[in-house]
Amino acid sequence: MTNGQPQAASQPADQPASQPEELLRVENLTKAFSGVEVLKSLNAGIRRGEIMGVIGENGAGKSTFMKLISGVYAPTHGRILLDGKPVRIATPSAAQRLGIAMIPQEFNLINTLRVYENIFLGRELRRAGVLDRKRMIEIARRLFAALATDVQPEALVGDLSVAQKQMVEIAKAISQESRILIMDEPTTVLSRAEIDSLLVIMRDFTAKGGAVFFVSHKLAEVRAVCDRVLVLRDGELISLDPVAALDEHEMARRMVGRDLSEAFPAKATPTVVQPVLAVRSLTVPGSLAGISFTLQQGEILGIAGLMGAGRTELGETLMGLRKAQSGTIAIDGAPTAIQSPRDAIAAGIAYLSEDRQGRGLLLQYDSVVNITLASLKQYARLFIQNRKCQERARYYVDSFNIRVPSLAADLSRLSGGNQQKVYLAKWLDTAPRILILDEPTRGVDVGARHEIYGFIHDLVANGLSCILISSELEEILGLSNRVLVMRSGRIAGELAGDALNEEEIMYYATGLKVQEIPGDATAPATLSGASGAPVE
């Protein structure tokens, strides 16, 4: 695995010669859950000063590997060597004492405490017995300055955006004087500028002799940041090679074990022009200002925009989750009042939230319960017909290739990709005509992502109409027949055909270009909002 190449350049000069080159090594590391091996006899080592990319599909064993190193799980077999000496990492705090810090995918922050209180939680600085608030705030301020982010140390964590919370987690990990930093999907919600400063911090960290595990689905970032890349598939090590030896295509190929020739299925153009959904001047105070658009039968309508542009709010308003102050929604030409999610389902609308775990699925329940939760009426007069529910769930599990240990297994044990497929099944089971997908591939691995693109394509080919909200421009461009670009709660532009490209979307998203949309007199006409703000 390791090719024994010297890494002298990144090794600090003061390291004693006797210390092994590898900071951390795992030998035959194996983890099994109820007899099923999710990590199979892994042998690998990370060097001082190295950033190691860890990639693989969801369920490949990346998270398990990281949780073994950070003391969340105990290995079934095998051992972990730190500085060449075997160590037992029984708890996360033991890992912390050994200098291993994990920046988790889901945050471990306390919303009711301030930012600096979270950063110093459990290791508060004291002076003469009482908390040294001033110093803690000052240190936190310096951390954020180094991260080039504008988080206020005295802000309540609950008031922060998701991206800011992520930065707090990163600041917390860095402040713990760790030697090994584990970043689990650190860049999913960060802006370009924040990602750049994070990369600088990581380089700075490794220059001091630390090592970083960088777990990510974003192969371009892995390529840009890492020294070597470890590829896992089905719990097994596929390769550990210098990043220079791999391009993104090759990484993806190794992750899924086959060639991904065509990223997106060919777009089908709707043959008949028949508006399914017509929205006029939809206004929700504080989030939407006079939104008007039409969705055609069998069309994929992309909705692009920056974070906070109102895309999710639009989806939630159409689903009856937010109250519109004014405006009309017409379905098949008939004005339809949508006051609640029940109205939306009755009107044939389904909305998949961007927050699959927090708003989409009951993770402690199985796929049968989840798939039938929104469509339960179909399966019950007085009593739920469990057999029917199970047959239906089985149908989706088979046709969507959802990998579940059994129909009765909790969703919390499924990978992100499989959870997303269950989520899609749940809403398709309400027999919608209009499917609104909000970030349908967030936290979903490459293989499942392509499958989901295929499902969307097939569904639309069968007459479903789809609104696709996404921050992944590639996804928007690859799937949509037409794209609306939102900015500040308004539709800033509509793009189709040759005008549909990344640059045009960014122009409208950032306010560099503004279109006059018929029927939308409130569109902003100035360029004052222009900024280099990145796509969320």
Partner: protein, 314 residues
């Protein structure tokens, strides 16, 4: 949805505890296995056990109801007033039963309104109504008793049907109905969904406020039933003593039965087992001649132990 997952170890723990307890009890006392004693236990646990059925739904949906004990006194008291006003005949008894259930449902519905429309935290809302319902009862009885003047009334509460106490029958039948309600109806599944994740439930087009309201109203119904059974057994309702600490027993039965205090999951049959465990322990303490004043201590320790076991499992 709960019954399907009952294969795993955690849902079987209450049953295992019950069996061990029965074995110990049968060794500890030769009278334990007498039909008379066992039937006595089933009757004793039925009053709070019935309430615990409703409480199970409330707790699964993520709430709590502390007012049930006070509501027992209120519903029972009003029922006795109705009974006496109507002369104490068979129709009056039927009316008393109906009145108790109506008062219970109204009291539960008021809790539900406070929690849903009023958006008051369940703990606080029902802590408030616990005081309100008790105070109303005390005022109406002027601190004394509601005494029934009917000779017919006690024959129903203290009566037997096929050698088994009527209270036990009511408990068993209601338990079956509530188990079916929880496991096999859309409403039951919605209760679980609301408790498991309210936001997911809302996004899934579940009327979360309606579901929560109904859990409190149904608990009120169980309180009404329990109140009239208790009133007729004693042929009186004490405004100071009736239903005191019933919330403790009901919540204890739910928790011992394995329902998660954080909501989202639970089982009615677990609650029945929980009530049985409490009843047997009480019975053993009585037979061992341990002071009734100390029985609360034992009960408290058991509740804490049950929650600890639940917590450790996670």
């Amino acid at each position: 949805m709960v019954s399907k997952r009952s294969i795993n170890y955690s849902t079987w723990t209450p049953l295992a505890a019950l069996i061990i307890l029965i074995i110990i009890s049968s060794f500890a006392s030769e009278y334990f296995f007498s039909a008379r004693n066992l039937l006595n236990i089933t009757r004793q646990i039925s009053y709070t056990g019935i309430i615990a059925l409703g409480m199970t739904l409330v707790i699964i949906a993520g709430g709590i109801d502390l007012s049930v004990g006070s509501l027992v006194a209120l519903a029972g008291g009003v029922a006795v007033l109705a009974l006496n006003a109507l002369g104490g005949g068979p129709l009056a008894v039927a009316a008393a039963i109906l009145v108790a259930v109506i008062v219970g449902v109204l009291g539960g519905a008021f809790n539900g309104m406070l929690v849903t429309a009023g958006r008051v935290a369940p703990f606080i809302a029902t802590l408030g109504t616990m005081s309100i319902y008790r105070s109303l009862t005390l005022y109406m009885a002027n601190g004394g008793e509601f005494r029934s003047q009917s000779d017919l009334f006690p024959s129903f509460g203290a009566g037997l049907f096929l050698e088994i106490p009527i209270a036990t029958w009511v408990f068993v039948i209601l338990a079956v109905i509530f188990q079916i309600l929880l496991s096999y109806t859309p409403f039951g599944r919605h209760v679980c969904a609301v408790g498991a994740n309210e936001v997911v439930a809302r996004y899934s087009a579940i009327r979360i406020q309606f579901v929560k309201f109904m859990t409190y109203a149904l608990t009120g119904l169980t309180v009404g039933v329990s109140a009239v059974l208790l009133a007729s057994r004693l042929n009186a309702v004490s405004s100071t003593n009736a239903g005191v600490y019933y919330e403790l027993d009901a919540i204890a039965a739910v928790v011992i039965g394995g329902t998660s205090m954080s909501g989202g999951m639970g089982a009615i049959w677990g609650t029945v087992i929980g009530a049985a465990v409490l009843g047997i322990i009480n019975n053993m303490l009585n037979m061992a001649g341990i002071s009734t004043y100390l029985q609360g201590l034992v009960k408290g320790l058991i509740i804490i132990a049950a929650v600890l076991v639940q917590y450790k499992r996670k």
